[in-house]
């Protein structure tokens, strides 16, 4: 199996606070990998380092074997590495449709063209309609993102990333803040992601993690505590001691 994304000895500190410590993590193509750990463990920071939102102090990030450590976030996205945000990062005052269109125009390379009307790009509109349908958002296409229920907004968050046609997706707590009655919609979407995409998902709900993941990495205080199949992790005494001890849902 080819390695889609790999980090080598990644380290990051904020002042005196060491948030990422010597993290080696690798995602194979088509992987379903869960990253778990208590609040403040440094999971989001790790995603920021991988996606290029933050520069690491030590170590490298490799995408399909190529060193991308010094590339900008935009370059990484162009090479197939896309992420969602734990807290919605959307254009709240624009329609759902246009959120997706902006993302798609960017991927289609239209973002540099100041002369062509954005609405004249039928390929982009076409694809936007497809993506919205795929996420069951077609009836909300014309609503402002701000007016959408939170659960739907989380779907838009995923749509923005899907529009980039990534080979690796980093999902930072995609169902965070969504009432449990609605979270299954999001999980169904994630479960239905194409097989060739490697997915790293950060999630606190252990039921979801164990249902979804083929590999689990446990991050505690910035360092990897354990890594392995769900069965390995469930039986790992260290993990149980520091993490799963109190009943599963952290």
């Amino acid at each position: 199996m080819t390695v889609a994304l790999e980090t080598v000895g990644l380290g990051k500190s904020f002042g005196a606070l060491q948030v990422t410590r010597d993290v080696h993590l690798s995602l194979a193509a088509g992987d379903r990998h869960a990253l778990i750990g208590p609040n403040g463990a440094g999971k989001t920071t790790l995603v920021n380092l991988m996606s290029g939102a933050l520069a690491p102090d030590q170590g490298q990030v490799l995408l399909a074997g190529r060193d991308i450590t010094t590339l900008s976030q935009a370059r990484r996205v162009k090479q197939g590495l896309a992420r969602t945000y734990q807290i919605n990062q959307l254009f709240a005052d624009l329609s759902v449709l246009e959120n997706v269109v902006i993302s798609l125009s960017e991927r289609a390379g239209a973002g540099w063209n100041p002369w062509r009307r954005s609405s004249a790009n039928s390929a982009v509109i076409d694809e936007a309609v497809v993506i919205l349908a795929q996420l069951d958002l077609q009836d909300h296409a014309l609503s402002l993102v701000r007016e959408l229920p939170y659960g739907r907004q989380r779907l838009v968050e995923i749509a923005m990333t899907l529009a980039q046609r990534p080979s690796v997706m980093l999902l930072d707590e995609p169902a965070a803040g969504v009432p449990s009655a609605e979270s299954h919609i999001i999980l169904d979407v994630i479960a239905a992601l194409p097989d060739h995409i490697a997915v790293l998902i950060i999630e606190h709900d252990m039921d979801i993690v164990f249902r979804f993941a083929t590999t689990i990495t446990v991050l505690v205080a910035g360092a990897i505590l354990a890594q392995g199949s769900p069965a390995d992790i469930a039986n790992d005494e260290q993990v149980q001691a520091v993490y799963l001890g109190d009943g599963g849902d952290v």
Binding site: L94, S95, L97, S105, P114, W115, V129, L132, A141
Partner: protein, 326 residues
């Protein structure tokens, strides 16, 4: 599926459709030519200020770049055009104005490349001090710019070799209006393009734009350069129509006034530049004659009221009124 496609397409087109109220400012501009021919000199200055405010709207209203130094590019254009004539003897109005635009754009590109990596107060201070630095430079380079006394000796040839400068300023009014029309069409095209929408995205949420692979700095520098070039064109026109350039073209107060005019009309809607500028300059012309203090106090008060209660400017307030009615 096709039905959804049609709806989506229609929805996106709706925003950029020409609407009949858009004809109003242009009708007013044409009507002014016939109705108040005595005021065409003022009219020309208003049209030039509209071009300048429009250029600011591109970066402030669309890309969300807050600047206190936009006069830097207006002034660069004015001096470029003026010096071309005063020192090199070239007075062909169209090319001289375009030269002002090029120099303004160049200044915008260089300063934008450096400054647009910064944000918030730092960016505010950097734009402010850059413009003042340019003003001080112009002041010190007396041999070239005339320093404090201003640049004299600008002589502009007849437009298209035929229409000479007339006492009533008809020629320059028409010239300025045509330039405004071109600038407006350029601006309107830009803001409705994918490029323009990416600027709106940057203004709305930079984080997300990085996340969808937008080279944010490059986009900002590009629109900044376009805007600076447009400001430079306005400056060039200004130099030609007055045949005189002083340090005032680079001043903080010019940067401030253009900001006030734009905000008064409403940012991020192109026509805000028209309305705000026309209202500001007409009022100024009338009131400042009566009592400068009264005018200054009034504009200050208006600004405070607009910021607190009508943040979307006069056009925004009109829009709200219409929405509430229906």
């Amino acid at each position: 599926m096709t039905e959804h496609y049609q709806t989506a397409r229609h929805f996106l087109r709706e925003r950029e459709r020409w609407r009949w109220p858009e004809a109003l400012p242009w009708l007013a501009i044409v009507a002014a030519f016939f109705i108040v021919p005595d005021y065409l000199a003022l009219g020309t200055q208003i049209v030039i200020a509209i071009i300048f405010a429009l250029s600011l709207d591109l970066i402030l209203g669309y890309a969300g770049i807050i600047t206190l130094g936009h006069a830097a590019y207006f002034g660069a254009g004015a001096y470029a055009t003026g010096m071309l004539s005063a020192h090199l003897g070239w007075g062909e109005p169209i090319s001289a104005m375009l030269f002002g635009g090029i120099i303004g754009g160049l200044a915008g590109f260089i300063s934008g490349w450096v400054l647009l990596r910064y944000h918030g107060l730092t960016l505010l201070m950097l734009t402010l001090t850059t413009a003042i630095l340019m003003q001080e430079t112009a002041n010190a380079a007396e041999e070239w710019t005339g320093g404090f006394d201003g640049l004299v000796g600008i002589s502009i040839w007849p437009l298209l070799g035929t229409f000479d400068y007339d006492l009533w300023g008809k020629t320059y009014y028409c010239f300025a209006v045509v330039v405004l029309l071109v600038c407006f069409l350029v601006a309107r095209t830009i803001v409705h393009s994918a490029f323009g929408r990416s600027l709106v995205g940057i203004k709305g949420n930079v984080e997300r734009m990085h996340g969808v692979g937008t080279p944010v700095h490059g986009r900002l520098v590009t629109i900044y350069t376009i805007s600076a070039a447009m400001a430079g064109v306005a400056g060039g026109l200004f130099a030609e129509s007055n045949a005189y350039v002083t340090l005032d073209v680079l001043s903080f107060s010019r940067s401030g006034v253009v900001l006030i005019m734009l905000v008064l009309g409403g940012t991020g809607r192109l026509y805000g530049a028209f309305v705000g500028t026309a209202v500001y300059m007409t009022l100024e012309d009338e009131l400042a004659k009566l009592s400068p203090e009264f005018w200054e106090f009034g504009i200050g008060l208006l600004l405070v009221v607009v910021v607190l209660f009508f943040r979307r400017g006069l056009l925004g307030a009109l829009e709200d009124l219409r929405v509430r009615r229906s």
